[in-house]
Symmetry: C2
Subunit: 428 residues, 2 copies
């Protein structure tokens, strides 16, 4: 676009966003107050649908789970029933001859954990000191509101886009991305995509992949009063966890990529849960560990699986107890494809330029320490992806999660201006 027009659009977008800050906060609060945990996404999604209807978007609302999806080689989902919890794609159709852009946000949130760790109701949506609190504010309903505000600002400012903007509010991101995969398989592809996951306003052209694993560790039960007659599955699980820590260290030490230089553990292995035993006076005979295995953007899923398998096999061969009762390793549920975009891609340049314009400094570019749905958009949908959002990684999945309203509004502005440049405008 011409420079003077660019300034005019920026002025319009800024003004509209400044005047509608409170509307953005209210929309976020309504979304947070619907706990859209897995299997309960419907009520929050309904709020997004109504917003898109008000904006005059073309609405495609459907329950995922057809044969095409279920038979896809990258469908890694253990969910049986998607009834009542639809996926949403809502399109702002351009007038033609412009590049298209996908704006991809997920509506699902992870469970809130123990309530005692929260200062308030985890679903309060309380606003305080320029922040909105609650599960999902950072990951990623705040980012979703940035997308909707960006679109609304453009529409309300009367700006006519050439290319299509394809807004997506998907389910299942936290459990492996079946919602985004379903959207790709339904035909939604574009010249670029932005995913406003919590990058703390950094640009992430690389996305780490990840997989879920389960380890079943055997012990030998006995009366607790003669616990030396048994073998505690908890004790044995501890020895397994120590080996996994070593494996994580090795994998991260061998990882060399300039974008990971500021990341403490680029590809972590997280033990998310342990369940063992059901009686205080018995030695537990089984421990089940579940966790998330990080995959480097440059690594195949298969190579990553092999590295954990080899670690477990080594334990099964060297530990006298595990020789007798081998640890079982299962891969289950979620799996996120890694993905990457060259640093010089036009979408990186456009987004980076408007970041600099709005924030007055160059953006930080990093590789994501976690997986996103970006892998599906790029690998399966051939759509170039940048992950860029207002939330903070360290607040995601934590108690007392919050988002800074200023950042949510700044991201809305940066994305609105990126849309205008990327999709092009019919100059009047």
């Amino acid at each position: 676009m011409r420079e003077e027009n660019g300034d005019m659009y920026e002025e319009k977008i800024s003004t509209w966003l400044n005047e509608h800050r409170t509307n953005g906060i209210r929309l976020l609060q309504k979304l947070v107050q619907e706990p859209s945990k897995r299997g309960q996404e419907g009520s929050a999604q309904a709020i997004v649908v109504e917003k898109c209807r008000q904006l005059g978007l073309e609405i495609d609302l459907w329950e995922i789970g057809d044969e095409k999806l279920r038979n896809h080689p990258h469908f890694y989902c253990d969910r049986k029933d998607f009834k009542g919890n639809p996926n949403l794609v809502a399109i702002k159709r351009g007038i033609g001859n412009g590049k298209s852009l996908i704006l991809n946000g997920h509506i699902d949130v992870v469970p809130e954990g123990g309530h005692a760790a929260w200062h308030d109701d985890p679903y309060s949506g309380m606003e305080k000191d320029g922040k909105v609190f609650g599960r999902g504010t950072t990951d990623m309903k705040g980012g979703n509101v940035s997308l909707l505000l960006a679109l609304e600002a453009i529409i309300e400012s009367g700006i006519q886009l050439k290319g299509d903007v394809i807004f997506q509010s998907v389910i299942e991101e936290e459990s492996g991305g079946a919602g985004t995969l379903a959207a790709v398989l339904r035909g939604y592809r574009a010249d670029g995509a932005i995913i406003p996951e919590p990058t703390n306003m950094k640009l992430f052209p690389l996305q780490q992949g990840s997989m879920w694993f389960r380890l079943i560790v055997k012990g030998k039960s006995a009366h607790g009063g003669t616990r030396y007659e048994g073998v505690s599955a908890i004790d044995k699980a501890i020895s397994v966890m120590l080996e996994i820590k070593k494996l994580e260290k090795e994998r991260n030490e061998s990882l060399r990529h300039s974008l990971y230089k500021n990341v403490k553990i680029p590809i972590p292995i997280n033990i998310g849960s342990i369940q063992s035993g059901n009686w205080p006076s018995s030695v537990p005979d089984t421990a089940v560990l579940e966790g998330r295995f990080g995959i480097a953007p440059t690594e195949t899923m298969e190579a990553a699986q092999r590295s954990l398998m080899q670690c477990i096999e080594a334990l099964n061969e060297t530990d006298a107890w595990f020789k007798e009762k081998p640890i079982e390793l299962e891969w289950f549920g979620a799996r996120w494809l890694p993905g990457s975009l060259e640093l010089e891609h036009p979408l990186m340049k456009t987004l980076g330029a408007y970041y600099e314009k709005v924030m007055g400094e160059q953006p930080l570019v990093e590789a994501s320490p976690w997986a996103t749905d970006g892998g599906y958009l790029s690998s399966v949908g051939s759509t170039p992806v940048v992950v860029f959002g207002p939330g903070e990684t360290k607040l995601a999945h934590d108690s007392n999660e919050y988002i800074e309203v200023d950042k949510m509004m700044d991201v809305a502005k940066i994305i609105a201006l990126t849309i205008i440049e990327w999709c092009g405008v019919e100059e009047q």
Copy 2:
């Protein structure tokens, strides 16, 4: 009794037991095939009741849980409902002028654990190679059958006892002994008591006490992909468990008692369960550990509690994380009083003498590495207690639990002869 009469009784009892071995096995199988886990004791108890009715015993069958029991200072029970799962006392009334004897067995069993560890259905009651298999065979339905066979042998042999034999089949032993406490409070006391817990035919005049505890360990949740932003409650729980291992070592090293010299860990601290986390991709923010704390027969409950409290308080003071988020310690549910009997008590002598007569060797005398209901009988009921039974400690609470039929029959014989001597017989 006169020597020639003693020989005559032994002959009668032996003959009867040899002829009724199969009946004993069948009774045990029927009892094992009713999984009398906590809250489901009724069906197995019904089999015992019917057996006692056939033997012509005075039956007292009642649902425990009255105010007197609930208000007792040693009632340590978190069970709300005892409906449908009664306690049983069944009395063989003597003709008078003899000493009375309580025969105390519990009908409840601990859960069977993971079925995969069992070669057969945990409730099969399968007989193979002179053994009967299944949850509860050793702990302690096999012992209960020894008691019932002993009584039946005496009755069927037409032997008239002077003193009362008070057979008890109680609930709740595995959860803290409310069933035996209820029987004591209902007035059942005697000049002696035998509890056929799995001592592997050793005599246990000392009973270890125990208590259940719960530790709540806090972490700080975070997205698993940036797990370094959180603090894993599992990692913190591991450090707590290591400290508890140290405490167990100290407590056992400082314990000096001749009867414990062959016991590997006289007063163990068993971590029976850990539950932490509910999402593979989240750092868990809470871990709950439940366990059993062994109390020396010479130790008060309060002193034992203090030793764990001091261990946890020390961690809360020295560990930087626990300073901020202290570990919480709770005592809950089960609590078994320790107890002891002098080695020269007449009941020890009588039981020991008949052990020697039947087995042809002196009995081993040890202190129990685990708690029994004996503490209630002795401390609250002023009834001298010896624990002596056919099962093996190391099989109790384990998968593939079994009892050797020979031992069950030998114990029946030893106890029958002890009853005859202890209660006295009207010589004909």
